[in-house]
Amino acid sequence: MNGSGHTPLFHISKRSALPWYLSWAIRLAAIVLALIVCALVTTLLTGVSPLGVYATIIQGSFGTVRKFWVLLQELAILLCVSLAVTPAFKMRFWNIGGEGQVLIGGLATAACMFYFGDKMPNALLILVMIVASIVAAAIWAAIPAFFKAKWNTNETLFTLMMNYVAIQLVSYFCNVWDRKGSGIVGIINPRTQAGWFPVIAGKEYLLNVLIVAVLTVAVYTYLRYTKHGYELSVVGESERTARYVGIKVEKVILRTMILSGALCGVAGLLLVGGTDHTISTTTAGGRGFTAVMVSWLAKFNPIFMVLTSFLLAFLSRGSSQIAQNFGLNHSFGDILTGIILFFIIGSEFFINYRISFRSAGEKEGSSHA
């Protein structure tokens, strides 16, 4: 019946949908395998015990209460930027300008703190900061959307380039605001703490975390249950279908990008007003790009994005901790992060396809990459 030697060694075929527990089992297996490979790499390259490294990674996030709050804060901001880019991605508008939009939001926040710091009551100031950051970032995002809607320009390049413009703008204002000539803006309003977000329940980052939690539910609801969310997914799947049913594609592109930018503005606001109380060209810290990965890994589902942004924040904190504890280069942590992401992304292949081998033809392929 089966002519071995005649059939190829293996062939790949598409799977029908796997039950959720099997696909999660595959993902889990991928993480376990990734950890084993990481352990091998660690021992071979550094001679350090892999178990010690793993313990350190965990320690980096959960070692102390303080570290845990830092993890939550990192997670919240990353999640916020990811939530921001997701509506655009669902519309197949590849907004990789999250970095710049966050910076512009942060810049507007810092400007309000800097210029109005002593001139109005704190509550009013914070309100002005909120409006300014959201409006500024929304406008920043609307520019490439306008060009896309009007002349179908390439949004990937456009949004990417806008990042550099944003960085230079921030750099310019840093020089304007810095009185010492070093180009670094120190903590803004250190004595009056004007425009600093209030600390609630004695926890510095709790407010940020709560705001992002609310945003997560809101974005999920917007995408899933509203007419706008429906329209933007139709536009994303097929512009022709959208036009066929009378959806104004240009309007949807513009509206969605304004929303995307506004949420990035919130991230900038939380970073400057709620966490750093200063601004620099690295305020966004590459989150605009990491957010792309968070969003994709979660398949644009805001609830799953909590998990993926946790994973990335956790790995990033762990990397810093390794660098610190073992005297290793910070790049080593990035190598481990890279390996883990490779396995996680690779596992999607085994969820979507199965590999049949020549001899034991009918059983499913195993899940190693």
């Binding site: 002519g3 509203t226 799947e237 097929s238 022709r240 279908t241 066929y244 104004k248």
Partner: protein, 511 residues
Amino acid sequence: MEESKAAVQLRNITKSFGTVLANDRVWLDIYRGEILALLGENGSGKTTLMNMLSGIYFPDEGQIYVDGKEVVIRSPKDAFDLGIGMIHQHFKLVDVFTAAENIVLGLRGHGKLDLKAVGRKVKEICDTYGFEVDPQQKVYDMSVSQKQQVEIVKVLYRGADILILDEPTAVLTPQETDKLFAVLRNMRDSGKAIVIITHKMHEVEELSDRVAILRHGQFMGDMLTKDTNAQDMTNMMVGHSVTLNINRPEPEDPKPRIEVKGLTVRSIDGILKLEDVSFVARSGEILGIAGISGSGQKELLESIAGLQTVEKGSISYIGDDGSREELVGKDPLAIADLGVSLSFVPEDRLGMGLVGSMDLTDNMALRSYRRGKGPFLDRSFPRHRAEWVVSELAVSTPGVATQVRKLSGGNVQKILVGREIASAPKVLLTAYAVRGLDIGASYTIYDMINLQKEKGVAVIYVGEDLDVLLELSDRILVLCGGKVSGIVDGRSTNKREVGMMMTRLGGGTSE
């Protein structure tokens, strides 16, 4: 059994895609000097089976023998090496290359490319079998039928003597079809094995020597064409008996509903697509639109539906009370806001009419999602509508939460047509409503369209199968190069007359 003579023997071929068993232990013999028609409904696994022979898919199980020797076909190249060539439904030619360049494309030659020699060899092949291919002509200058000939010559050039054609007549006019059939007969007479995949019964009868029938991925049997008839073949193919007559009720009280006057449309590149087109579509009547593909059918329907920029002319919607609404310059939303209930079944089902990755409910919502105030989407209305379409049109689907792209072509079309008629339209525009559908599904669609006609809907039916157009339409408007070649009565005209009008304005006098 004359096993020794068979050019190709397929034994126990099984192929599944996910949970769908596309081919289930299929046996099939293909002989030289014979035209085999591979007949089956859509989704019965004809194309899948032939794709395994031509190296596009690899079977899960089973063996393939060529000239009695077991072979493994891993890639189209393996298939070519065995002399097997397939001509697909969608041509794979480079537009800016000449016929000769396309023919040698991908072939590994020795030394310099000698296009003159290629041209000579192409000429030779053409002369042998009666093709009309100019090796120097660029593909973008060619008609569909010429492109198809290039595809066939390309396969012959590579030395194929087992040829598989996947629904070759779907894009041809009757005259072109006759030419193709003559060429295929010549090839058969010179000893080649020919397989045509089809679901058109009259083609099987006219052309093939033997017919093999697939149903639900299983081989139902084969027989000499002369020993069988259309009714028997259909029954084998469908699994139960089907009547092969299209109903044509007399129109009841037809009144003008859509009046098109002097419609002129240009494409974005400035090419004239429609020129001075005028006609009236009446309520309770099916107006068939015939024409070679690309004669302006798409632009005509899209103009009425508000999806096309119109250069000149007017399109009026005439209400029951005689009131007129101008549709030119309005988008689909503005047209709907006028209270004009117009439904459009576009040619491109999954690219325009439906969203493949969305489920049935969300696809129904495409037309109704604006209902209700407030920002939230009402999903219960479209879900009920999806359930209604599924039960009313006997759509086979696991449920209304299934992605549309997972359904077969016939079911996809039922969903689309079902959604469009569910809103009780006054005007129904359909483009190639039965393209790619099997007999059973096609007749369901004809019945649905006739039902709309009886309800007083003005139906504009763009079709490609002249036999069907002639049986279904009350009147037929024939387009030729974007102009109206004539409007004829569906009951008194014939295929020949319409065919002539398709190729020449007014039909001309060819005698």
